[in-house]
Symmetry: C2
Amino acid sequence: MVSDFSFRDTPALEALARRGARLDYLDPAALAAAQDILRVSKKMLAAFAEAFATHGLSPGRYAVLMALDVQRPSMAPSEIADRLGVTRATVTGLIDGLMRDNLVVHVPEGSDRRRKAISLTPVGEALIDAVVPDIFKRMADLTSPLSADERRTTLRLLGKIEAGLSTAGVKEKEPNA
Amino acid sequence: MVSDFSFRDTPALEALARRGARLDYLDPAALAAAQDILRVSKKMLAAFAEAFATHGLSPGRYAVLMALDVQRPSMAPSEIADRLGVTRATVTGLIDGLMRDNLVVHVPEGSDRRRKAISLTPVGEALIDAVVPDIFKRMADLTSPLSADERRTTLRLLGKIEAGLSTAGVKEKEPNA
DNA sequence: GCCATAAAGTAAGGCGCCTAATTACATGGC
DNA sequence: GCCATGTAATTAGGCGCCTTACTTTATGGC
C-alpha cells in the first residue's frame, strides 16, 4: 500500500519508531491508515482542481456556477456564501472573476437595494453545460473501480471518520444556513 | 449520508436530474459517492491544517520539519523538494519561513558550495517533539472509529481509487526521486 | 580557461481562504 | 421626520499552497 508518507509525504512510521517508547500507545496501523487516507485525499482534490482548470475554472468558480445552475434563476451573494460554506468576502472575489469572464451577471433586485442577485449569463450556462458531463464522468469514474457494495462500505466508513472530525477539536461550519 | 453536495457543497444530483436524458449513462450512486468522498477529504485536510496552526505550523512547514527529523542530520533543499513532491521554489519559501522562526538552519556543505544543507535547530527539534504526539494522536483518532477490518477495507478501496487517478488524465508526480 | 550543467533562490502570479473595515441601504422607535 | 442599529456587499490586506520562468553562483569536464 504505497510506502508510508503522510498526506504530504512525510514518513510518520519512521518518526514513530524513532520515538517508540514514548508513543507506544499509538496504533501503528491506525496511523498508517490515516496517512494513506490523507495522502489520497490530497491527490483527489488536486486531480479535480486540474480538471476544472482545463475548462478555465477552479473549484471555487465551479461551485458558484453549479449553485446558480441549481438555484435558478438567481441567488444573492450571501446565499451563495452560505451554501458553499465560505465568507461573503470570498464569494465577492469569485463573483468578480466570473463577471469579468461574462459567466455571471448582477441583476438588481426590486425592493431591497442592498441585495444584489447574481445569475448565469447564457455564456455561463453554456459553460456549465459543457463542464458538467466531463466533471461528472470523472466523479463517477473515481468510484467505478469499486463495487456497489464496496462503495457503500466506503461511505459508511467515511461517515464515521467525518463524525469523528466533528466531535474532535474540529470546528463545524454550517453549510445551508 | 449527508445530503449531497460536491466537495464544495454543490448539488450534483440535482444537476444530474436537470440533465437526466443527456447524462443517463452516469451511475447516480457512483456520482454521489464520489461527492461524499471529496467533501470529506476536504474536511480532513482542513482539520489537520488547523491542528498544525495551533502549533504555529502549516502542512507544508510540518512536512519539511518531519522530513528533516527522519533524514537527520541534514538535507539539501532539492532533496526536500523531491521528497515532498513540490518544486524547489516552494521549498525555498518554506525554508525561509522556518529559518525566520529559528526552526531550521543553513549549514554550509563542505565540498560543493552550491549545495546548502538544511538542518533542524534545537528549537526545531523541540517543536517537532512537541507536535508529533498531538498530530499522530489525531491521525490515529481519525481511523479509530474503524475496526481493524474496516480500516483494511478502506485502504484497499482507496488504493483502487488512487490507481484510477493515476491511469486517468491525472499526471503523476514522483515523490522520492 | 571556458562553458554546459546543476543547485538555490528571486519574481511574479493564481487560487483558496480569512478578518477587519467600509459603504450603502433599510428600519424601528421616538 | 430622523437617527441608531442592523444587514448586504465590497474593499483592503494577509496567510498558505503552489506554479513557471528567470537569475545567480559554483562546478567540473574538455
